[in-house]
Symmetry: D2
Subunit: 250 residues, 4 copies
């Protein structure tokens, strides 16, 4: 049968080191919490990488052996080196899945893959976020009901400057009056990208069952598809000979 | 692990009974040929049903126990009873996958699910059809290369009167000068629909490896997603009480 | 320059005749109110048609001379004759624009064009509906800001059983906790369809400036495009001769 | 009535200066040829800009006064300065339309807006390109028939590494056996982008009526929409106060 899906969970890992309150929620870091619930799945294996490791923990060797990269970032989006963001970008175009969480919307990698600013309205008021399923046949909603709620979170609101999603999965309702495209899929080259809004660091959101379910589902959805003899996306291949012969000057 | 995907392969089964040449290509019928290669997959089980069986072989019991229905039809599209087409339609909205092959584009079920006429240009000249992959990260192209060819087939050409596909997988090149959206995905209610052009009855197209690969992949893609407490699509549910309380007259 | 866009505003016209309160809001009927603000535009001319007229006011001659049909319906969706719904359906596939308002989501014409049940959650509690623009470059939002509000309306909530919109324009926030895809565009054949949620008959919604602006914009967007020598969508044309000659048996 | 659409036609303008054969086809440059046919339209005004002008002719003042920018580039894609590409990028997100022609697919601006490599197969064999209309209700096909042909051109073939188009308008058939998504639309921020394949410099393609018609139509489609009080896309605005009041700790 199919080999396990090899996931790398990347986290800037700054909030947890600076704030005892956040460290209490995520004693192993947000990356540790996410890797832990992923590891409970028989078809998934997970490792972690963080900003302050050499090459941010994302060496060529790590990236080549990653099927799906999960990305959590916030205050240090600008500290990610351009050459690392560049390597991640090309790896996605060549097939690696990418799951971007919460404030990763403003990361270099996500903005480059989207082609837009990815900005949104925002507010920290600890308000309720209710996520409605608008794609009930999509594998990312496996196991969910019509909606689920995050009791307290940071608000992100429209207009969210993203390209039209290839698949819009969740629409979020916020207590303060906004809506948000809270779960969205895109294809880029041979890779797939899922953005998922839940995850503010000051609330135990990644301990919530439905959030974990969505991330597990998204890992399976984003796993690479094996195609054969497909070119590297960095090439614009020249084919001097037509497949079908035709008389020149025809 | 997951149970097997239960597939029903439906065929009008007329050409094979009337034409010795076609019967030679498909001695067990087109449905038999398709069911046979599906049965080689460890995660799929397949049965068949045909037009001339009672209720066209599609009783409520059969439909309730079908995860993915494969549909081949041509000369007898109009003989399918409205009440059976109606049952298939609602079963798709409630989650059953549907794979429509070749001239099934003009079937009652497909036209009703699409909301358009589904007509196209056509010509029988035994010409070449080359299918180009335009969604290389999609599970339906697993195992394929950049393109594959059907050496001889019936031409279907644009304008193909379908709704814009949710996912366009293959674009076909025809020797006589036309193009066609030869593989397309749509979501309808909780169900998923895949249309795939290859399959003219006078050529051994369903014996070709890449065609079989696509249909196997499509079965896996179209399999239902388990959601919980989701309503039946025939209902427009009334919720007198708001989820969030608010002062009336506010 | 371009001729005026010829609009027919269709209304079942039942609520206004039965309820003095509703008649007070719409003394000329909902169709009259809509036609009146459309007529203020120099590039639009508008007439009306209602259910109780012969052929529901939608004779072949009227339909042939309609560029965009606006459709308001509610309690009498089932009273529309199949043959009239059928004529409207084919006229849309052949280029006529269609704007479906509020409870017209359950009309025969809209459901047939969508290929789904078009059902949704609903509640009558007079709550607030805030419509957020999620497609700020689309002509249907010309003149609007980031959002606008309907102070009191009937709630329609997700899951809304529609095909994935070709263009999602508005996402609605409801006071009671739901969200809704409140403004959506689709292409069908050569025609264009816009669904717009605002419009419950017991509130003066069509007297509100932003709602009028959206409907005016939608009329311009939905107006037919002139293509030449394009086939009737009811045909599946046969082309015995290839455009490009090729050797048979090649 | 509406003011004229202000178009700037940008060209790297190198081939015409170096090759007498190309200069013969385009004595005023490709930009001159395009600007000339645009100027025949009563609702369009056009100026030009080229690579070797200061700031490539694209000063902030020019960009601020451009509604739609037409972009032709080929051998000098890499010579465009990053800061100019950056200004064009943000101007598109804030509403300017962009029409990218032929080998402009590999320009900095287009690749950044797409978020992909935008590479494709290619071949110079002077072969035939037949463009089929697959969106017959879209304003970009106004005045066209089911297809039109470019007698001799450079081939671009799939897989074309672009994001899934928001609207796929033309599918191209090439004599040598390839297909191509030859006309595609995307929304980015408040702006709209149209890519159109025809235009190899060694053939008189911009003198062909249907090609001119498509570019004129695309200018009208890409013209900005006036929204009010919409934020600059470079901002991620913070709203400390909710629109809807709620009890904190609720």
């Amino acid at each position: 049968m199919r080999d396990k899906i090899r996931v790398t969970v990347w986290n800037e890992y700054r909030h947890e080191k600076r704030s005892p309150e956040i460290a209490m929620i995520y004693p192993e870091g947000i990356h540790g919490a996410i890797a832990n619930f992923l590891r409970t799945q028989p078809d998934i294996e997970a490792r972690t990488a963080t900003l302050d490791e050499p090459e941010h923990g994302l060496t060529s060797e790590v990236l080549e052996n990653t099927d799906v990269l999960v990305w959590w970032a916030h205050v240090a989006n600008h500290e990610v080196k351009d050459e690392i963001a560049d390597k991640v970008y090309w790896r996605v175009l060549n097939g690696m899945g990418l799951i971007v969480l919460h404030s990763g919307n403003l990361s270099k990698v996500f903005r480059r893959l989207m082609g837009t600013a990815c900005s949104a309205r925002w507010r920290e008021a600890g308000e309720k976020h209710r996520l409605w399923v608008v794609a009930p046949g999509h594998p990312i909603v496996e196991g969910l009901g019509e909606y689920f709620e995050i009791p307290h979170t940071e608000m992100y609101g429209e207009f969210f400057d993203i390209p039209r999603p290839d698949e819009l999965i969740f629409i979020g309702w916020f207590q303060g009056g906004e809506v948000f495209r809270s779960g969205c899929c895109w294809h880029r080259g041979r890779g797939k990208v899922f953005y998922f809004q839940p995850g503010h660091e000051t609330f135990p959101i990644y301990h919530q069952g439905q959030v974990q379910q969505v991330i597990v589902n998204a890992v399976r959805w984003a796993a690479p598809v094996s195609v054969v003899n497909f070119r590297d996306m960095a090439e614009a291949p020249w084919f001097p000979e037509p497949i079908e012969p035709f008389a020149s000057g025809q």
